[in-house]
Structures are given as C-alpha cells and as structure tokens.
C-alpha cells in the first residue's frame, strides 16, 4: 500500500486499520454474498472508495454498497449495506 493523489479505488485491505479499532479479530477476512448480484467476496476484495470524507466499500461485481466507514475524532460510524441506519461505536483506544 502507498499514497496516491487520485486513486481510482483501493480494496478492503485498507479497512483493516479503521475497523480494527472496533473489531477484536481482523475483519478483512470476513466473507459476504452480495445481496444484489450474488457474487461472493471477502471484505478484503471489496472495492473501497475514499478515504475522505469516508470509506465506501462496494461489491467488486456490481458496485452495490457493502459498507461505509466514517472515522471522526471521537467516533467511528459503520453503515452496513446501502440503506439508512449506521451503527456508531465508541473508539476505545483514543488517547489524545
């Protein structure tokens, strides 16, 4: 991984850091079946757009939204799927 000015998209490997703050195991090996096109994929294989203003992870087959992550100074927001209703998690490791 490395920094690019205008990446097309990254992949779900980039979710390991942000989601690692709230999951006790590495989440990027989690598997899903896309409800829109039925393509199976691990989280690491999702196409991830961002990182700003948030990470939008999409099915690599049909681009349906799998999840979105917004990291803020005190909170991490996780939205699963494309509908409304995000989970907000307190971030336990904030030291500053």
């Amino acid at each position: 991984m490395n920094e690019q000015e205008h990446p097309l998209y990254l992949d779900g490997n980039a979710l390991a850091g942000p989601l690692g703050e709230i999951f006790t195991t590495d989440p990027t090996t989690a598997w899903r079946l896309c409800p829109s096109c039925r393509l199976p994929a691990t989280m690491a294989q999702l196409h991830v757009y961002g990182p700003e203003p948030g990470l939008t992870a999409r099915c690599p087959g049909c681009a349906a939204i799998a999840l979105r992550v917004v990291t803020q100074p005190g909170y991490l927001w996780l939205q699963l799927g494309s509908g409304a209703g995000a989970f907000r998690f307190a971030r336990p490791h904030i030291t500053s």
Partner: protein, 199 residues
C-alpha cells in the same frame, strides 16, 4: 512525551479572511469519490423537480440550456479541509427551476445518477444561493467533477453540492442523505465548522 512527527505541517496554513476555520487553500481541485464515476451522455440526461405531493417538472438537457444562465465566481470549501478560491461556473440558478413548481416544503433532497443523496433546507438553495452548473473554469464540466451537471452551493461544505445530480425532491421533513446518515453534519456550514453530526 516528545513531539511526534516533527516538521510535519499537513496542509493547514493561515489565509486571510476568506478561509473558514480548519481549512487550507489549494490551487488544485481534488476529486473525492464514493463510487465509480457515472458517465451520463447529455442526450440521456434530464433533471426533475418533484414536490412533496408527487407533482414533478422535468427538463431535458436542451431545455435546461435554453434557460437563463448565470456565471457565478465563488469560493468552495470541502469538509476534507481544502478550500478553493474564485472558482468560475456557468449554470442555471435553482430559483429558475424551483419557480416552476408549487410547494410548501421546507427541505429538499438532491438526488444523483449514482444513487448519492444530500439534504438541504429549501431556503439554502433559493434566493441566488445555489446553481445547477454544467461549465467549470471555461470548459464543459468533466465527469470527474460531476459532469454533465452538478449542484454548486458555495456557502455550505462541498459534499452538499451533489455531483451528477438528476433532480430535487421537496420534503416536509429533513431526511439525512448519503454522508449525513453516516456521521456528517445535517447542515454543514464551513464558517461554524459543522463537519460532524455533533458539531
């Protein structure tokens, strides 16, 4: 604790008067994306305003281009902390489009061809504060930046200026959009630094 990453300044530098808090000026025009870039040919483009009772008015590309055009020069502010000064646009004031429908709604949801949405108070897109823009810096607006047409609402953070916009839906209630439902501020005033939900 000693200092971390000495000499790292990020891109936060002071700029007199025109720079909202926490912003840095940029000459470039960063592209932020939440998905694949849609490519909408103008002959398949249309723009629809739908009222809270389900009445609608639709413009084709040619009809929109035949409306009175304005050329605003404005400063824009992205929630990711860049600001860009004196950007020049060409497009139709949303007043012209909204004058064509009857509404008692207080809010509006802008909807894009890629499924993106963002919510705004109606009074923030009327009285000369917002445009449907199709020309930027002397050229037809590129797909990267939201072409063929996007909203330009310079007094709010730029995520409110929906790219690839296809219509406005007037709503009696405020309905959070794509980023507003995932932690970003409902209103997004850069001068009050309303970045996040709780700001």
């Amino acid at each position: 604790m000693g200092s971390l990453s000495p000499g790292f300044h990020g891109k936060t530098h002071a700029f007199e008067g025109r720079l909202p808090p926490g912003q840095y000026p940029t000459e470039s025009f960063p592209v932020l994306s939440a998905g694949p870039t849609p490519h909408i040919p103008t002959d398949r483009w249309s723009f629809t305003v739908t009222t809270e009772v389900g009445e609608s008015r639709t413009w084709t590309w040619d009809e929109m281009m035949a409306l009175p055009q304005e050329e605003p020069t404005v400063d824009i502010h992205c929630v990711t902390r860049w600001s860009k000064f004196d950007t020049t646009w060409r497009g139709v004031s949303l007043d012209v489009l909204l004058d064509e429908v009857e509404t008692a709604a207080d809010f509006v949801v802008a909807e894009s061809f890629d499924g993106y949405t963002t919510n705004l108070p109606l009074e923030d897109v009327t009285d000369g504060k917002a445009w449907l823009a199709h020309f930027f810096d002397g050229f037809a607006l590129s797909p990267d930046h939201g072409g063929p047409a996007r909203l330009v609402i310079p007094h709010l953070y730029f995520w409110k200026s929906a790219k690839w916009v296809k219509g406005l839906i007037l709503t009696p209630e405020n309905e959070p959009g794509f980023w507003e439902s995932a932690g970003y501020h409902d209103y997004g005033d850069p001068w009050r630094e309303q970045r996040y939900w709780s700001d």
